[in-house]
């Protein structure tokens, strides 16, 4: 193409993006925006991780050692908000930006300028959120769930947090709209919906979930704002409101949000396992139906977060049964992934190692989820470290390991360089060992009755807390290796072929492009007769 166009009377047309800040500030190219999302997410991962280190350092032994309880609570709240909205979600949006157009054969996302806008909202949102640490009264300390009346009794942070959450919501909605419109309208000829890669499918369903629940979050936090500043009484019992209804509304958003953070991970694992098993994905269509079923069920299980709030027995039974029902489509997925590997010609490159670790450890999180779904058992487990262990098993070796698997899988495609495999495998083994040292003892602590969100604890919990903190420091330090591998790979290294993974022969349109792909991707899509 370049050779042919050289003969044309055009003025120095080139196929390289602008350099400098303008390239990033005015980026409309899906690859640039995807890169920005991923870099932002990595920075937030380290920011949220630093907060986790503060938490685990304080919990290393009983008593108050390093920070006062108020600051400890600020750290737990900000750690959650930063990790959920700043690290995990932007990472998946970044992967969507990079991979969806490549996988469906589209030249770019459907609405590139909106794409740029949805990214650039995020740095402002998180600057606002993190700057609450500097205002009188400090950052929010009532937990990421923002339950009233506790959240209404804080300092000057309150309107800043609400505005930051609105900004994050706007960014998420714009990202979701872009994904939906791109997948629906920009697929290459012949790419019908059931031929679409599972990563795209999982993102389409995720975007649908985002569209359905984000107005609920926006409405809920706006009502908190009006209760605080305009004397409304949506959640104020003194004025006839009901604070428990906030919990209902919040978790109606919150539970689908959990699936928003895990469905794209399912898509990633469904791409990686077949590649390194050298077999097609077992039951690909059933995977789509399972993903859609999980998404549907996520709307009718929110009550399991509030069993102890007091609800009719029938409601408890309904939420218990519906929650346990999620194990069925999730089981279909785990079975299909296992069947994909069964008698496959397996090889254990870093993406595959992370995918297999995901499969084992996400299942641990899933099993403890089923335990928490049982009403009588939940009465015992609620508000203990067992819950902390459960959701961290789902989100860290679940969502975050899937993101790392995706980065290791597609990084050579993005950069054109193969990364240091030894370093990446070292990163994998250290992460896997330390993540279990970090979170598995928290099951024991929870079962023994240690409450969550406390800076101090009874001495009988000392040993496992110390082990957990050692795991946290080890896991945190291991992630420096991840940053090193990524930076090294961006800066250079052995040239990667277009297929990248050699005889593993991954399927998908993205592997038909060179590594790295050209600044503007596809030359085939529209029909020019």
């Amino acid at each position: 193409m370049a050779q042919a166009t050289d003969t044309l009377p055009h003025d120095d047309h080139h196929d390289q993006p602008d350099t400098g800040i303008k390239r990033w500030l005015f980026a409309t190219n899906h690859k640039d925006i995807g890169t920005m999302y991923l870099v932002f997410s990595l920075i937030m991962f380290f920011v949220g991780g630093a907060m986790a280190m503060v938490i685990r350092a304080e919990l290393f032994k009983p008593g108050l050692q390093l920070v006062d309880p108020m600051f400890f609570n600020q750290m737990t709240t900000l750690h959650a908000l930063v990790m959920i909205f700043g690290a995990v979600m932007p990472a998946f949006v970044g992967l969507a930006n990079w991979m969806i157009p490549l996988q469906i054969g589209a030249p770019d996302m459907a609405l590139p300028r909106m794409n740029n806008f949805s990214f650039w909202i995020l740095p402002f949102a998180f600057t606002l959120l993190l700057s609450t640490l500097l205002v009188p009264g400090g950052a929010p300390a009532g937990g990421w769930t923002l339950y009233p009346p506790l959240v209404l009794q804080g300092g000057d942070y309150f309107p800043m947090v609400i505005f930051a959450i609105h900004l994050m919501g706007i960014s998420s909605i714009m990202g979701a709209i872009n994904v939906i419109v791109t997948i629906m309208n920009m697929r290459a000829p012949g790419m019908d919906l059931l031929r679409m890669p599972l990563f795209c499918w999982s993102w389409l369903i995720t975007a649908y979930l985002l569209i359905a629940v984000m107005p609920v979050l926006a409405g809920a936090v706006t009502m908190l704002l009006t209760d605080h500043f305009f004397k409304t009484s949506f959640f104020n019992a003194a004025g006839g409101g009901d604070p428990v209804m906030f919990e209902h509304i919040f978790w109606f958003f919150g539970h689908p949000e959990v699936y928003i953070m895990i469905l794209p991970a399912f898509g990633i694992i469904s791409e990686i396992l077949p590649t390194f098993s050298r077999k097609p994905l077992f039951g690909a269509v059933s995977m789509v139906y399972a993903t859609a079923s999980i998404a549907f069920l996520s709307f009718i299980v929110w009550g399991h977060h509030m069993f102890v709030d007091g609800m009719p027995l029938a409601a408890q039974m309904f939420f218990m049964m519906s929650t346990m029902l999620i194990a069925v489509p999730t089981g279909v997925k785990v079975f299909n992934w296992t069947a994909t590997m069964w008698r496959g010609s397996l090889s254990f490159e870093p993406p595959m190692l992370f995918a297999i670790a995901f499969l084992f450890m996400f299942s641990i999180g899933g099993f403890s989820g089923v335990m928490l779904a049982l009403v009588p058992a939940d009465f015992q487990y609620q508000n203990t470290y067992f819950v902390v262990a459960h959701f961290h098993y789902v989100l860290v070796p679940g969502a975050i390991f899937a993101i790392m698997a995706a980065v290791y899988y597609w990084l050579p495609k993005w950069t054109g360089h193969m990364y240091n495999l030894t370093l990446a495998k070292t990163h994998f083994w250290l992460s896997t060992i330390f993540v279990n040292v970090l979170f598995f003892p928290q099951h024991f602590l929870g079962l023994a009755g240690m409450p969550r969100r406390v800076p101090d604890y009874a001495v009988q919990f000392s040993d496992w807390n110390m082990v957990s903190s050692i795991g946290a420091f080890g896991f945190g330090l291991s992630q420096v290796l991840f940053a090193i591998v990524v930076i090294q790979c961006i800066r250079g290294g052995q040239k990667a072929s277009s297929v990248v993974w050699g005889d593993a022969l991954p399927t998908g349109l993205e592997w038909t492009l060179s590594s790295p792909p050209p600044y503007h991707s596809f030359i085939t899509a529209p029909e020019i007769k």
Binding site: P9, L111, N185, A188, P215, I249
Partner: protein, 158 residues
């Protein structure tokens, strides 16, 4: 001898399918918003409306691509360009001998190049809805058929 080139953007979503899709997503999320409203939490409803407005506008913007088509008819003596859009149809004609094809670089790299057919002070854009590579490929094809100013190359294309 004449060559006809039809240009249309790729759209995988038909208008009826888009309607069904939009109505279904509106309906589902409206149920959610109405349930909250019925419980007295009406602020969810305006956010639902804003979001659906955004989704609708985004879908409309993306679907409008399909209404925009161009037909280039190149004969021994003439180049004619018919552009169809929502606003109707416009036809431009150029003497082939005096027409030239020009691929203009964007002022900023993030913006696409522009493929122009120019003649006697008139200039019209072709294939602005194509991808960069497609536009380059079309430019290459047109340049071979239309040539530069004061040229009439044979109407053949491999």
């Amino acid at each position: 001898m004449e060559t006809r080139i039809e240009l249309k953007p790729n759209c995988s979503l038909t208008l009826p399918a888009a309607r069904v899709f939009f109505v279904s997503i509106c309906g589902f999320s409206l149920v959610v918003a109405l349930l909250a409203t019925l419980q007295g939490f009406w602020p969810v409803l305006p956010f639902w409306g804003l979001e659906m407005l955004g989704l609708g506008l985004a879908l409309r913007s993306s679907l409008r691509r399909r209404l925009w088509t161009q037909t280039l008819l190149i004969t021994e003596s003439q180049v004619s360009l018919v552009t169809r859009s929502r606003n109707g149809e416009a036809k431009q004609e150029f003497a082939r001998h005096w027409a030239k094809v020009r691929l203009r670089s964007p002022r900023m790299r993030q913006y696409p190049s522009r493929l122009m057919i120019e003649s006697r002070g008139r200039s019209f854009e072709v294939g602005s809805f194509l991808t960069e590579e497609e536009r380059c490929r079309l430019a290459e094809r047109l340049y071979a058929m239309v040539g530069g100013m004061n040229e009439s190359p044979p109407l053949e294309w491999e």
